[in-house]
Symmetry: C2
Subunit: 334 residues, 2 copies
């Protein structure tokens, strides 16, 4: 294992320190318990707090700032944060209108955020993201996994919260956006968790893992490596089938947001090639790709691979996606 | 070799098509000859055109837009674009005030951009970037290589051009910024050029290539893998020694911009850890890190590795770095 690290026990704190120093205009880092909070504390709004295991950067700390998150609680690599982190983050960020937690659906995260929610003195609610259509139940999950679509949920809910909307409205929008998203990922290689110091799973030079999770969890099946057209066709078909099962239909203008997400070690050149394939296929199915995002937004350490996410837009979601955002990893309009 | 591609001959066009579709609000793609041009053609300004081999994405097309480049000419992977591309791009972008080419110092790029400059009917000048302090002369280079610092040159010159400055002023700022930048990179793994379908160089699990080029060219030496503190100390020392040789001194406030650039397969978590080490070391040398950029900005396909770039700021450079920019890969202020 070759990684830019010092001691394995210090990776998280050193990386968070670098992040908060590089983005000192946007965030402050607190340790023991660890959380990162927006520098300019919001006044009188629902605060949006997310968190989860580290190794998915820029998720979640990269999305702290105006128009998105108020705080994030990073666990160790691929390990849930603990309730004291959520409680301390909520105390620091709270702005008199309650707290909305956005939590990817993994057993450890769900349990610890639930515990924090019960202990929290402020009004609170939780949105669970579950956009991964690859599998139901998995290594760390009961139900569907929350993956790259979480970024879209965080962006839209963060936008609504800035308008002064109340906790119920923020929770309702988060649940709605999550329902309208479907994602599926493909791994070409495993990731390597630093503390394990060897790849999470074995995969040969001629295989891919279709439907892989963002921790390297098994997907739908091990397949033979093929050209991008064939792999991405299967991803697009899986997403379309999921929308059919969910009984979700396109809006008036058939508009959708297409996110091609890299898992950490896939060159941008390939991600844009995937986008090219996926956008054409969705268009053939009558979908109008009205918004696009291509890059490393929800990673799995050093995994080579990518995921395809489609979010069915309506006027409300489009408005909140387009609104100004100023974070380390997403920024527009300001 | 596992990559998200179809046929090797189609990689470039399919990736460029994806890029230009995903960013259709910013750019237009033209083929035969291939160039990408800003969607809203600038009026009455010096146009800034860059280009080079593909595989370094988001460099250069990702920097087309307001406040940065007007056009980019992508060659095949790690291969110079040809003069007909530069001529066609200049014809399409020209806005009555001449053309400034920004060219990374590699023999093929220099030759082809020089040829285009001679053939071009418009007034033109060229800034050659040569920020890599690792080696003088290299596999593809006479003199120093242009690497990640090129992004800073493109940002500053692009900003000045928007103010209506003339060709000489743009060329002078580009040369000045290039002089005030020093970079050095480290590879943990090789990259794999699709057409070669095997790694460019062999490197064992216990080795790193100190001073590697962005095409996998040899650096200063093969070293034993060590902890991040030790590796980054050597990078920082190399940069400081280079500034000493250049006889460049810090400005009044000792301010600098620190860019930690990923080569394509290095997780953001590690890049921020590198930032943490480098920022502390530069501070110990009296340098005030006033601006920061961390991420994949000048890549080497799927290479695991990173580079450290320091740019000595002055008021002029700081102003042009901070000014609004709206491109696919860098965006702020608008």
């Amino acid at each position: 294992m070759k990684k830019f690290i010092n001691h394995i026990d210090d990776i998280l704190v050193e990386s968070l320190s670098g992040f908060s120093t590089a983005h000192a205009d946007l965030v402050s880092l607190h340790l023991d318990p660890a959380y990162i909070v927006r520098k300019n504390k919001a006044a009188n709004k629902v605060v949006i707090i997310s968190g989860g295991g580290s190794g998915h950067e820029p998720l979640h700390a990269g999305y702290i700032g105006y128009g998105m998150l108020d705080a994030a609680c990073p666990g160790h690599v691929f390990t849930s944060p603990t309730p004291d982190q959520m409680l301390a983050a909520a105390e620091a960020a709270h702005a008199n209108q309650g707290v909305l937690f956005i939590v990817k659906n993994y057993a450890g995260d769900v349990m610890n955020f639930e515990m924090a929610a019960e202990m929290l003195a402020f009004e609170n609610a939780t949105v669970y993201t579950s956009d991964d259509c690859a599998v139901v139940n998995s290594t760390y999950t009961t139900g569907r996994r929350g993956v790259a679509g979480t970024v879209i949920v965080e962006k839209c809910v963060g936008s609504l919260a800035e308008t002064g909307a109340n906790l119920n409205a923020c929770k309702a929008l988060g649940d709605k956006v999550n329902q309208r998203i479907s994602s599926i990922g493909v791994a070409l290689t495993s990731c390597t968790v630093p503390a394990a110091s060897r790849p999470t799973f074995d995969i040969s030079d001629t295989e891919i893992e279709m439907g892989v999770g963002i921790h390297g969890e098994p997907g739908r099946r091990r397949e033979v490596m093929r050209e991008a057209d064939a792999i991405i066709t299967d991803c697009v078909d899986a997403i379309l089938a999921d929308f059919k099962v969910k009984n979700l239909t396109l809006g008036e203008n058939n508009e959708a947001l297409l996110l091609i997400n890299g898992f950490g070690a896939t060159p941008l050149m390939e991600l844009y090639l995937i986008y090219n394939v996926a956008a054409k296929l969705f268009k053939q199915h009558g979908i109008n790709i009205a918004r696009s995002l291509v890059g490393n937004y929800t990673t799995a350490l050093d995994m080579a691979g990518a995921s395809v996410t489609l979010c069915l837009l309506d006027d409300e979601i489009k408005q909140h996606w387009d609104s100004p955002v100023h974070t380390a990893a997403l920024r527009w309009g300001c």
